[in-house]
């Protein structure tokens, strides 16, 4: 590493989410914690954490990464897809990662998990579209009992769907003039809104959509970690455990708040549709806040969940601490949502004298472990 002429080093306290970049699920051990962001010069660039654990990041293009380490084929394929992204976002990076995993570059287990995740995404989108349509019909037609998605006992499912479709079509035709759009455009808008909201879920109590599932995983990880730390104080390493647990709890609480806030826009489907037709990208950005807020936390959680023995948990704690995401100051502009100010501060720092634990022979086990993390990903 010392022989490499390293390029730009950026002291990194990000101002914007775009500047912070998106956590990239690379499997090469030396690329842990790397983020991808838009670059005016090269399309996309990577922010690779300082290898010794210092504050700075290396700002690298792919040849720079290859000078630093020998990335896996999975990572090379993932980066190839990143190059095709206009503006990397958590959703697009996840999509790219699923594509590469589906091709089998992270092993069969990750490929099977990616297939399940892709199918789940599709099912969530269908469900979101359907619930949104139902919500609009309920709002406009005042139908409550018969069209309640949980009211299957009163109307058979197929009839219910057909009835919703019929009424939705009638309603869209009725309101289209007031929107200055055609009914078909409104229908397309509703479908697009459903797709955008699918990861957060439409129903207020939905815990099956991707973001609520991630929040549940974070909460469970926090509970498990706290229990382990409480059970034996010697489990901790220099205060890292409580620091990571506190950061995780803040992320979880803020994530729930942003989720609730995002879902509150669904209370008035007609207003939501109007907003979409007027400013689709603005509404998309609002909905994607959950993703941006929680970006990077899944890997932290999975590191814990994949460790079972006391020794592997203590080792995981060191890795987790170095990956705790720091929010950019841009988050303060989300004035309507309570974000804990400590989420914009570095929780803790882990520095290391050497990289033997993730290079040489050790790298093989870590790559395998990282592939397992991909298979566990939501």
């Amino acid at each position: 590493v010392t022989a490499v002429a390293l390029p730009l080093i950026e002291l990194h306290h990000p101002t914007t989410f775009k500047g912070r970049g998106v956590a990239a699920p690379f499997t090469t051990p030396l690329l842990a914690g790397t983020r991808v962001r838009e670059s005016s010069r090269t399309g996309v660039e990577l922010l690779v954490p300082n290898l010794s654990g210092g504050r700075s990041f290396y700002v690298l293009n792919w040849p720079g990464v290859r000078a630093l380490c020998n990335p896996t084929l999975h990572d090379a394929e993932l980066f190839r897809r990143f190059r095709g992204l206009a503006l990397p976002s958590p959703a697009l990076v996840r999509e790219a990662a699923l594509e590469v995993a589906l091709e089998g570059h992270a092993g069969r287990e990750a490929a099977a998990a990616a297939a399940v995740a892709t199918a789940q995404d599709g099912a969530q989108r269908l469900l979101a579209r359907s619930l949104l349509m139902t919500g609009l019909v309920k709002q406009m037609a005042g139908l409550v009992e018969q069209l309640d998605p949980n009211g299957a006992k009163s109307v058979p499912r197929a009839e219910r769907t057909a009835e919703v479709d019929r009424r939705a079509s009638a309603i869209l035709h009725r309101i289209a003039p007031s929107f200055g759009q055609s009914a078909a455009q409104l229908a397309a808008g509703l479908t697009a809104i459903g797709d955008v909201f699918a990861p957060v879920g439409i129903a207020a109590a939905d815990r099956g959509a991707r973001i609520p599932r991630l929040l549940t995983r974070l909460r469970n990880t926090h509970a498990d970690l706290s229990l382990w730390l409480d059970a034996d104080p010697s489990n901790d390493i220099g205060g890292l455990g409580p620091a990571v647990a506190a950061a995780m709890q803040r992320a979880s609480a803020s994530g729930e708040a942003v989720l609730a806030r995002t879902r509150s826009t669904l209370m008035d489907p007609q207003a939501l549709l109007r907003r979409w037709m007027a400013d689709a990208s603005g509404l998309s950005a609002l909905v994607s806040r959950c993703d941006w807020l929680l970006d990077g936390w899944e890997r932290v959680s999975l590191l814990w969940l994949s460790a079972s023995s006391g020794a592997s948990r203590r080792a995981a704690l060191l890795e987790m601490a170095s990956l705790v995401p720091v929010l950019p100051r841009e988050v303060t502009e989300w004035t309507e949502t309570p974000i804990h100010p400590d989420m914009m501060k570095e929780t803790c720092r882990v520095t290391s004298h050497q990289d033997a634990w993730r290079t040489g022979g050790s790298a093989f086990a870590l790559i395998e472990r990282n592939e397992k993390l991909l298979a566990m990903s939501t």
Partner: protein
């Protein structure tokens, strides 16, 4: 294999073991299982050569005694002639070894003293084998400290006479074993943490382990240090330097004896080869790493020329053992499953192939540290070429082949393969 265990002389053992040496592997495995089923094994353990046993890696049933004494396995004397013929006449404390005959009476005694707690442990390990490292570690952590307490206080076991070691040897042996068992759980944790590469052993913990022994049990100290270094070679750099008080002086003196003990162990016939061969392929690299680190310590700057010469010889054997394990792993775990050409491999077989490929690479990485890498380059190149070959299309999917080539030859080789699809 029933009735009273036979104590055979070397000539008798040789006569019986010669026909077995030529026997096929399944037959040997059946004999091993029969011997494992014996309550008292006598000389039966010596019928099958150690190298053969190491290669076959049979999993032995986990018994109370094997769990109990797992932490001191390094010190248990193998099977020299004197132990088979007349142990009591020859065993001396300065030999720094635990005669195997002492173990069963001690284990029975401890089991009786523990009562229901021992019964619960026996229930927990029923049907499990000595290969179950996680269970041994978990259950051992509750057993070893209690056993240490019992050994430290208990009178001579009633069945001690059968050891042939004489009553005068019980207390010295118990006082050597007890402090090692008392620290076994801590050593176990330290070793597991060190294996992650992220958590080196803390100096104060090493001092806390050795300090009390240095003060009160000079005879046990070299063996305690030998166990420590065998499991945590990095601890050698954490020992207090001589002149840093009486404890430190005692530790440094014992360190030299521990070094001799460890070197003697490594010099025994096939000892290094057996250690590497007895591990699964996944663990073989770690075993090589530990032995290499141990040899580095034994070859430290103040080592005298004769020791250096012995270390050099041991390193050569380590290099050879590493290559032999690599070749057998390559053949048994990777090439053999790929051999019957034609039908596609079951998807469930792929993770095992990838694990074998990873194990080989780890072993190769460690092997290069102790010797030349040319053999590995050639063998890895050949197997990667075989996997790239179109003849392998029927056995493995394209992406499975790509991944195996990536593991065996690196991402660049896989990338070239990806760019030139068949």
């Amino acid at each position: 294999v029933s009735g009273e265990p036979a104590q055979l002389c070397n000539h008798q053992i040789r006569t019986l073991s010669q026909p077995l040496a030529a026997g096929p592997d399944p037959r040997i495995m059946r004999i091993v299982a029969s011997v494992d089923a014996m309550m008292q094994r006598g000389s039966a353990d010596f019928l099958i050569e150690r190298q053969r046993m190491a290669r076959l890696r049979p999993a032995h049933p986990l018994r109370f005694s094997s769990l109990l004494f797992q932490p001191i396995e390094l010190l248990v004397a193998p099977a020299p002639d004197w132990l088979l013929v007349a142990p009591a006449a020859h065993w001396r404390l300065k030999q720094q070894a635990i005669p195997r005959t002492a173990l069963i009476p001690m284990a029975e005694h401890i089991r009786g003293a523990m009562g229901d707690a021992a019964t619960a442990i026996v229930a927990q390990i029923a049907g499990r084998t000595t290969a179950d490292a996680e269970l041994i570690s978990r259950v051992g952590r509750s057993l070893w400290p209690e056993a240490a307490r019992i050994l430290a206080d208990a009178p001579i076991p009633e069945t001690w006479e059968a050891t042939g070691l004489g009553n005068m040897n019980y207390r010295p042996l118990a006082e050597i074993i007890a402090p090692i068992l008392a620290e076994a759980a801590t050593l176990d944790v330290l070793q597991a943490e060190a294996a992650t590469g992220l958590l080196p052993p803390p100096r104060e913990m090493i001092e806390a382990i050795l300090g009390p022994v240095a003060q009160t049990n000079e005879a046990a100290l070299p063996m305690m240090i030998a166990i420590l270094l065998d499991r945590l070679p990095a601890a050698a750099d954490l020992l207090p330097p001589a002149g840093n008080g009486s404890e430190a002086t005692a530790i440094q003196a014992a360190l030299s004896q521990a070094g001799d003990l460890l070197l003697r162990q490594l010099e025994q016939e096939d000892a290094i080869e057996t250690r590497i061969a007895a591990c699964t392929l996944a663990d073989a690299g770690a075993a090589v790493n530990r032995i290499a680190a141990l040899l580095r310590h034994l070859d430290s700057t103040n080592a005298k020329p004769p020791r250096r010469e012995r270390v050099r010889a041991a390193r050569k054997r380590l290099e050879a053992g590493c290559k032999a394990r690599f070749a057998s792993g390559l053949q048994d775990d990777l090439l053999a499953p790929l051999q019957p050409m034609g039908a596609a491999l079951a998807p469930a077989a792929i993770p095992a192939l990838e694990a074998a490929a990873r194990g080989l690479r780890v072993l190769e990485t460690e092997g290069r540290v102790v010797g030349s890498g040319a053999t590995y380059d050639v063998l890895l190149g050949h197997v990667a070429d075989a996997i790239k070959d179109t003849a392998m299309r029927d056995r493995l999917s394209w992406v499975d082949r790509l991944r195996l080539v990536e593991i065996l030859s690196g991402p660049n080789a896989a990338s070239v393969m990806l760019d030139k699809p068949e």
